[in-house]
Symmetry: C2
Subunit: 245 residues, 2 copies
DNA sequence: CGCCCGGTTGACTATGGTCAATACGTGTGG
DNA sequence: CCACACGTATTGACCATAGTCAACCGGGCG
């Protein structure tokens, strides 16, 4: 049992300024406070199955979870990677469209569905923030469509690594001078499900990138990136830059 | 020059009840009316390029357009198919993230960006409706991720045909008894860009489905579906039904 | 100790991509 | 009117990338 972090005050919350509540004023925050409760999940637990009734929507407070779809013959495709401050659930729909799985220990800040939906119609900031977040999600989903549809296995791996590195950087993990380290929270199989590959192909491509010095491994899950631009040049994208000079 | 359909009154508009203005009341509609204007594009014209400054957001009134992304070596992936009532543009961002191309003659109902964004903060219904539409878009993007990442070429074609058939049905094209006809507005190349395939593979798979009697062609662009369930069984999805008993 | 899980690697195969020839329909100009 | 070119689609031969099946490795834990 890892039941830590039973936060109660929104004002102390680590995701206060990035989650769906980010632009709420004190009064709105109080309303949210009244309908919220925390839930914890252990690594590997399923948060919900596609088709399940969901009595709440939620913000990810801590940990990592995946959103995935499965064909009946077992092929699965991950369609979202949820990290701290991401939103779970769809206002206006009471069943989940996807399997949601905790892949590390996860803490959710849950809001009961009905009161939350009501709040969306009465207070402007929640809906506005949710729209902005949804538009961002849509952009990343479309970025993934490009990766899934048009990139080679090697480019897919490089793209995944740069995306995770950028997200970790955005959340505030400071890059060590010159050498960026990514703790990638995914098994080879999970990466495969994300990238539309098999786990063998993922393993082979990671080995190839390692062999050629594009990345280095520290254990199985920690990846060191000696030259971020080199990695970016393997993604097939524009060398637009963004993170790192 | 096909400058038809210069509608002016929102109340007569064919997309009045499905577009971003769907849930507006009379007063809100009047405000929109004040900032709107129409634009026409011919088949093949580019509405805007990725990175372009966009001074407006818009609703598709008529026609079909595509949203696509291109890698610098020319590989392109379509990330959205816009039909009547779909929304173009992203409030809060002034440049387009994607290439938008008219593939049939298109009429847009454009709203000047600034006033539109202002309206989003002052009137609730526009933002709410846009959120609902964006959530739907996100769902279809994720459905496409599954198709792109995990389906075979044959399943991809079958999936595309069922999706277009369902959308045409939703818009009100009545299926002929037993025999559904889909007028697919896409060239083989556009289908390939949508499905993450080459145009040759698209052509081969369509020929195969025709050879086996799953579909029949009427010209190059019109596809007859004698048994919709048969086609669904080729998509790899659940036989959940939905359209047609 | 031995099992299990996650990962790596190898040998072979299959699916879809590449390159190229051909067909078909439509509009243009001699 | 026909010849031609152009854009779109079809088909074939060959090939490359990634998938399949299987063996093996190494660490953690009962």
């Amino acid at each position: 049992m890892t039941l830590q972090m039973i936060e109660s005050k929104c004002t102390d919350c680590p995701i206060r300024h990035r989650a769906v509540c980010a632009s709420c004023d004190a009064d709105e925050l109080a309303q949210l406070e009244a309908i919220k409760y925390y839930r914890n999940y252990e690594a590997g637990q399923t948060i919900c199955w596609a088709g399940d009734e969901m009595s709440f929507v939620a913000s990810m407070v801590r940990g990592i979870a995946t959103l995935s779809q499965t064909l009946e013959d077992g092929r699965t495709q991950m369609v979202g990677l949820l990290m701290a401050s991401d939103f779970i659930g769809r206002p206006g729909r009471s069943t989940s469209s996807y399997d949601v799985t905790a892949i590390s220990d996860v803490t959710l800040c849950c809001f009961r569905r009905r009161p939350f939906e009501k709040m969306m119609t009465t207070t402007p900031h929640v809906g506005e923030r949710l729209l902005a977040m949804t538009l961002d999600e849509l952009d990343s989903a479309r970025e993934w469509m490009l990766i899934l549809g048009r990139k080679t296995a090697r480019e897919k791996i490089a793209s995944l690594l740069t995306i995770i590195a950028r997200r970790e950087a955005a959340v505030g993990m400071v890059p060590v001078l010159g050498q960026i380290a990514v703790t990638l929270p995914l098994t080879r199989e999970a990466m495969a499900d994300y990238l539309g590959l098999t786990l063998e192909t993922v393993s082979r491509q990671i080995s190839a990138l390692k062999r050629e010095g594009v990345i280095a491994l520290d254990g199985k899950r920690r990846i060191l990136i000696p030259d971020f631009n080199r990695l970016i040049s393997e993604t097939g994208d524009d060398m637009d830059g963004g993170l790192i000079a």
